[in-house]
Symmetry: C2
Subunit: 495 residues, 2 copies
């Protein structure tokens, strides 16, 4: 695969049009422009006339009414398919003809449970043509909330989440490669997850679903590869949580992975990123509608999901981008409702700055698009991801031999090795966890790996990218390419 | 005042014991060690026996029961004063004899309301002795949620939030200076805020309270100074939101402010910091108990406050500290309840990593200590703070003349000026908002100013600290001292 081309594609011009188009789509969205004005509770004149108004709070109740109405409508007209509005199939009305599904009828062993998952479905989509030798396969791994719909297909012509990177002559060149993308197990876009029916009870698993690991997701993907007769991948490619899977694939099946591409990922979740995901899970689980995960025949925790997405968006984007894009601009108030036009209008406690309406909009768009329990389970799997030697060994999924890397010696040995890209030799005084990480990543020593990060990423920081590259080099991997991108888009740069 | 000494104090050894003591207090806290174990919902064996348990969710209902019980107890024994448990007077049972209070019987004009606040109370505490000439006063401004209790007094001997920095021979040397600290208006520790009774209705203002600005807070403080007969401050000192007030004091009353100290503050809230505060307000306002602000005779939004504080804590601290302090350690499970001791125990969806129990504990400790509406109003005032010329002029509180600073020329002129500290000359290609900021900050041109920031601060980034210093220098201030601290404690370093 053209690793260089992928890297160039990411670092060059394509990102700008991409962002621009999102920005244009967003700024032209009626949801923002016509968001209900939030009369200020600050004017005493108003206040004395009655109770202050908070449309941003009323929106939660209004959303609940809409959901209940749509439930009623759907149950009365079950055959009517509503059109998709975005690139992803909306949650709760997936179109099972828009992707392929493999049913694995045998148990899937799990990292954190003595009882395996009895069986599972895995949804997947493909692009390009499988070569007769089945040796041209790129397995593309998704981030937290993405479906298998990475790019448009004949079954589902709507654009996918990596549309710009998959196709003839694109970074993942379908003239040459057969690209497979799955919905991870634990997800809600066709693969088995908490919203799936548990055979034994005939009801959704909900939070009786087992805690998953990134390794579990990858093992399910390789059972799909077995089913497809694919013995060895040309490459395992992923961004964000997909990068974790990409590394995990190389670790579980080093002989079956030709190359690894890790974009904006990590080999070991840090307390800061755990904290940010914990905050999201906390607001979600505090929504009374979450009901400890048992909401599938009730109102879903739409408000908790909206709040969780607002927090997530803050971690996906970056300050410099927002400085340029929003600055301190206020939302526009339709002239008909504006009492005090101009910059000295009375501020509102509901979203008022453009950055606030943007976050509000992001949360609103997402809150019914994804299953709350999937969010909880998959974000937890990300927290649990840790490729350091002691952690991996404790998992007992593939016991490693005792670390054979004399880390210091290895360090010296690797000091002179530089990739053809920007060189980041391992630090001279490597912290202990880096040696542990190198020990844990030993199985990846012979797999050429591209590590790519973004300097403005606050979730998977550039230090974590360097850590992956450093640990791989310390583990003896002589084919580590490392790139760092500038730009202001933070973690979402890969999109 | 010994600016150098303050700076030295902050940058030197005192911070380590401070953090250590917090850390020790926390790690020895029974609340963390004995936090309810969160049996995993992941074990299918467990799951098949019944519903999964989520003690972290049950905690919200348990807290509600405790609050209701304490309401009942307090109303049946109104005279019983419970002892304070922390450095701040707990919200809802302040001890009015532990601080001074000034009642201003005249209206206070407000930045964002045509109707002034009819009258107001301001709580304050003092340390040291006022000189006969009343020329030794340091006005200390607080961060968002602090009371006037910056240090112990004879009225309230419990340690204050800046105990280490106030006293004989300390950074704010009470052998020399008379230090005054107030609870800001909008707060809930004795000063007039949303929880105060509105004379006209005889009920708490709630969200009929007017939106405040940082300038409003400072004007109230200067009316207190008038009352005390203090014409000119030796210095205006503040950290975080206090730094905003410190700058605002110099702007409103340049002839009454001798020196300015701005620690971990900003002159212009950025979209990123607005986003982080917006997330907190959103989770709080989504708590049904918030009830659009009218909860004073009901259950307060304790869950929303806990969630908001968890998010806030993420912004106050920093990744490197957490890497060192928590890493990927799991909470300890009491042996009696541990089913699977050791690192390979089944993970829980409730707080399980030590960083999660830490955030959970921070939220739990805070959720009843502060008024939810005060949090909303004061965090909004921080968002609204912007000293750029157009913004200030729009406020109409003290119209500025048209900007007289030829920014480019000023820039050239200032290039060679360096303070005696680490020099950060204004950037050669200053962004437009920096010129606007310099124009807005012209009234501060003659006030010696110390700007101090922390490199690991993600809320008030070091770029914002440099911006304050740059803008002041561009505005013609030849007495700007600028220091940047290292360390891993982020925004909370100043504590």
């Amino acid at each position: 695969m053209a690793l260089n081309r992928l890297s160039r594609t990411l670092s060059q011009t394509r990102l700008r049009p991409s962002l621009h188009s999102i920005s244009t789509r967003l700024s032209s969205s009626s949801s923002i422009r016509s968001s209900p004005s939030c009369p200020t509770p600050s004017s005493q004149n108003d206040a004395r006339e009655g109770q202050p108004h908070f449309p941003c709070v009323d929106a939660h109740a209004a959303r609940a009414s809409r959901i209940i109405a749509s439930f009623a409508q759907r149950s009365s007209t079950p055959d009517v398919q509503q059109p998709d509005t975005g690139p992803e199939p909306p949650y709760a009305r997936p179109n099972p003809t828009s992707y392929h599904k493999y049913h694995h009828p045998h148990p899937l062993p799990l990292s954190y449970s003595t009882t395996p998952l009895p069986s599972f479905d895995i949804a997947y989509e493909t692009w390009g043509t499988l070569s007769p030798a089945k040796d041209n396969v790129i397995l593309l791994h998704t981030g937290l909330s993405a479906s298998s719909h990475a790019a448009s297909t004949s079954l589902n012509p709507s654009p996918g989440w990596w549309e710009k990177f998959i196709g003839p002559g694109k970074a993942l060149d379908t003239n040459q490669f057969f690209v497979i993308c799955t919905n991870v197990i634990g997800g809600c876009y066709g693969s088995t997850g908490p919203s799936s029916i548990e055979a034994e009870t005939g009801k959704p698993w909900a939070t009786r679903f087992p805690v998953l690991s990134i390794f579990d997701m990858v093992r399910a993907q390789f059972l799909l590869l077995d089913h497809l007769g694919v013995n060895k991948l040309y490459a395992s490619v992923g961004c964000s949580m997909g990068a974790m899977q990409s590394l995990a694939a190389g670790w579980l099946f080093p002989e079956r992975v030709g190359k690894i591409v890790s974009i904006s990922g990590t080999a070991r979740s840090t307390p800061s990123s755990i904290a940010m995901r914990f905050a999201q899970r906390s607001v979600l689980m505090a929504d009374p509608n979450w009901n400890k995960g048992f909401y599938y025949d009730k109102l879903p925790p739409h408000t908790g999901m909206k709040l969780a997405r607002q927090i997530a968006t803050i971690t996906y984007r970056s300050g410099p981008e927002w400085d340029q894009r929003f600055g301190r601009q206020l939302r526009q108030i339709p002239e008909s409702t504006a009492q005090e036009p101009g910059p000295n209008r009375t501020p509102a406690l509901c979203p008022d700055f453009l950055i606030e309406t943007y976050l509000d909009h992001q949360g609103e768009q997402f809150c019914l698009k994804y299953d709350a329990n999937s969010l909880i389970y998959i974000s937890k799997a990300m927290d649990l991801f840790d490729m350091t030697y002691p952690s991996l060994n404790a998992l007992d999924i593939k016991p490693l031999p005792s670390p054979s890397i004399p880390a210091e010696a290895q360090l010296q040995q690797q000091q002179h090795k530089t990739s053809h890209s920007k060189s980041h030799p391992p630090p001279v005084n490597a912290p202990p966890h880096l040696s542990d990480l190198a020990a844990g990543m030993t199985p990846l020593a012979d797999i050429p790996t591209l590590v790519l990060g973004v300097q403005s990423d606050i979730l998977f920081t550039v230090e974590q990218q360097r850590e992956v590259a450093d640990a791989l080099r310390m583990a003896g991997n002589e084919n580590v390419s490392y790139y760092e991108l500038g730009g202001v888009w933070g973690h979402d740069t890969f999109l």
